[in-house]
Symmetry: C2
Subunit: 122 residues, 2 copies
């Protein structure tokens, strides 16, 4: 609100869900739909155990780890770890590959960097 009686110059840019992840060129401030999608990504990062999962996977030999690698260091039950991994996969941060009995998780290349860019581009 401008206290000299003038109009505010802010422009709210709305967008459809389909284009929620690509930024319109003329955008001034984040629209509701884009904000929703980006918040979803940060929600995936807003848990200490999920941050540790990403860190352990990144530091693991070969850049991948299976669930049994991740249960012990986090001191969580296997279903809970599996649940967190699913959230990270759904967010596009982790990749899941099943080989035989084991499921191997690895970082999606560039995903963390793209997420970081979201912040600078806010």
């Amino acid at each position: 609100m401008v206290h000299n009686g003038g109009m505010t110059t802010l422009q709210i840019v709305e967008s459809t869900a389909a284009e929620a992840c690509c930024t319109p060129s003329g955008m001034q401030v984040l629209g509701a739909d884009e904000a929703q999608g980006k918040a979803q990504l940060f929600k995936a990062l807003a848990d200490p155990n999920r941050l540790r999962l990403l860190s352990i996977v990144k530091a693991s030999d070969g850049g991948e780890a299976c669930v049994c690698d991740l249960t012990e260091p986090l001191d969580l039950g296997q279903p809970t770890v599996s649940h967190h991994l699913k959230i990270l996969v759904d967010a596009g941060l982790l990749h899941r590959e099943k080989r035989g009995t084991w499921a191997y998780y690895s970082l999606v290349p560039g995903a963390l960097e793209r997420t970081a860019d979201l912040l600078s581009a806010l």
Copy 2:
């Protein structure tokens, strides 16, 4: 877990709460305390309305905005906006300056960039 019967090579590095935000040089994976602190920061970003608040403040004239600038575009009640702003201030992302009756909020310089760096450095 290494399936050839050998020991795992992962090292968990713990740290006290006091040093939760500075990364020890020899660190391999995120310890529980560091993860806690970093998750707290991402929690502040994990809400679409708070992302829009940051975006509006950043795009505002002079880089600052008061609560009455922010209530209308978000279509939220004033107490709710005030609540979100407090979370962003507590997270170190926004700065609050009271001038007369109005409270002006502005981005903490470099805060978003530092948060982005947390991701690349995971």
